[in-house]
């Protein structure tokens, strides 16, 4: 019974992303029996088997994949099978629909967490109270204590549900703010280009943006 087979079975069965630690505990005995010397050795064997496994499923002949989400490993259909799967599967999770203000507020919280409502308002330039309520209701954010300033405002942070819904390993996996800084700077410079070059500039824009999207996808 190979380690890879064991890991595959457990990831397949698990309802929420399963962590490296959980898997290590489950297979420890048999890995030690197979010659691992200590806990660290077990863990590194598990990790490398996981990498193998995820790599295999990544190939074009597979319609399902193993990905790191919300701190653990999870099996799912590949996004490109979406249309077909949707046509018959009943248990597709209802998609969350967020308004642009809600996404923006979520972005601020994701990058600045823990953050208070006044801090969020400052960045957005509008009152975010209502949007916060929506995000709390959808469990995409939760409270994180109070800030020790006058009024002791509630702090907010993103949740595991947020990571799951947005397919993130952890919040550090989000593109850095510097990337957006570059993007924004470019977008303003673009406007300053003399009229005759403008058309050309506009053409390069989407390509560039796609490149960024691609590099983001690769990180996953």
């Amino acid at each position: 019974m190979s380690l890879k087979a064991q890991l595959e079975a457990i990831i397949y069965a698990a309802e929420t992303p399963i962590t490296l630690e959980q898997m290590t505990q489950l297979v420890k005995e048999s890995v030690v029996a197979a010659g691992a010397v200590d806990e660290a050795d077990v863990k590194s064997r598990v990790r490398s088997s996981l990498e193998d496994l995820a790599g295999e499923y990544g190939g074009p002949d597979h319609g399902i994949e193993i990905r790191q989400v919300a701190g653990g490993y999870r099996m799912s259909t590949k996004p490109e099978q979406h249309e077909m799967v949707r046509s018959f599967a009943k248990s597709l999770k209802p998609p969350i629909r967020l308004s642009l203000p809600a996404l923006e507020t979520l972005a601020v919280i994701a990058y600045k967490q823990p953050a208070t409502v006044p801090e969020i308002n400052e960045i957005r330039g509008v009152d975010s109270g209502g949007v916060i309520a929506t995000l709390l209701d959808r469990k995409l954010i939760t409270t994180a204590g109070r800030k020790q300033v006058i009024g002791r405002p509630i702090l907010y942070k993103t949740t595991k549900e947020f990571l799951m819904r947005f397919g993130l390993k952890d919040v550090n996996e989000l593109p850095s703010m510097e990337e957006f800084e570059k993007l924004v700077a470019e977008s303003f410079q673009g406007e300053l280009i003399p009229a005759e070059d403008a058309a050309q500039a506009r053409e390069t824009d989407p390509a560039e943006a796609e490149e960024i999207a691609e590099s983001a996808a690769q990180k996953e």
Partner: protein
Amino acid sequence: MGSRMEDRIITSEDNAPGPALPVLVANPRSAAAPVKESDRQSAKKEESDSPFAVSVSDVYEGPLDLLLDLIRKQDIDIYDIPIARITAQYLAYVEKIRELDVNVAADFIYMAAVLIHIKSKMLLPRDPSAKAEELEDPRTELVNRLLEHEKFKSAAQMLLQKQQIEDAVLTNPALKEFVDAEGAEPEMAADVIDLVKTFQQILERVRTRPVINVDEETVTVGQMIDYLRRRLALEDRPIRLKQLLMRVPSRQTLVCMFLALLEMVRLQAIQVRQDQMFGEIAVRKHTGFDAIMAEQAAVRDDWR
């Protein structure tokens, strides 16, 4: 502001027409796209001092978006904003939306004050003896805010894209076959918000429960004053009277709430304002709110 936000709800359908997978990218321009559609209309109006100026038909989520649109439409260098021109255009827009709806303009009016302040600072002659850091461009802070805001708009687009990809996958765990069906009671996971929400619902239930016992303890004006004090303490801006009354369950409570408001007006702890006949009534803290309320609470033991 809420009403305006909702006008621009983005759903996955809007962004990914048809079955194709979303290829939306983190492009700050796409965030501004809904606004740009109204360019044509605004061009038609031509009523203000600039052919690029925005019209009331343009909907902005907030003052920062309005400013950014003014800057983009006129190909202005964001690091060198002609503050007098932009302020004039900004004020013209705000004046127009104020005519339509007094309440919506709160955030916009604050920004107007900021712009005028910057403008006045720019007009002042520079003190040649001042140190370098005192010579900082008065626009810098605003520009940084605009750029920061724009960054997060890009981040929002990135999140939208990730979310759409994630919505497209399905997991089908087989674990339920291994878990014994134990605990017949329907169970739920809970967090802090569930806790507060649940408690709120219980209180709601208490309030709406049919009261048979007539001489049960009822709400007093004092209790309502205390409630309003705590409620208003959280508000920096005016709150709509309607909002305060939204959860009032009975006629008696309603009467107490009104008496409480009148008492607080009398004490000059709050201001109540109605801009037009039958218009929305706004309640706001007076400058001495905290002091007055604290002082009164100390002498009036029937407030508790």
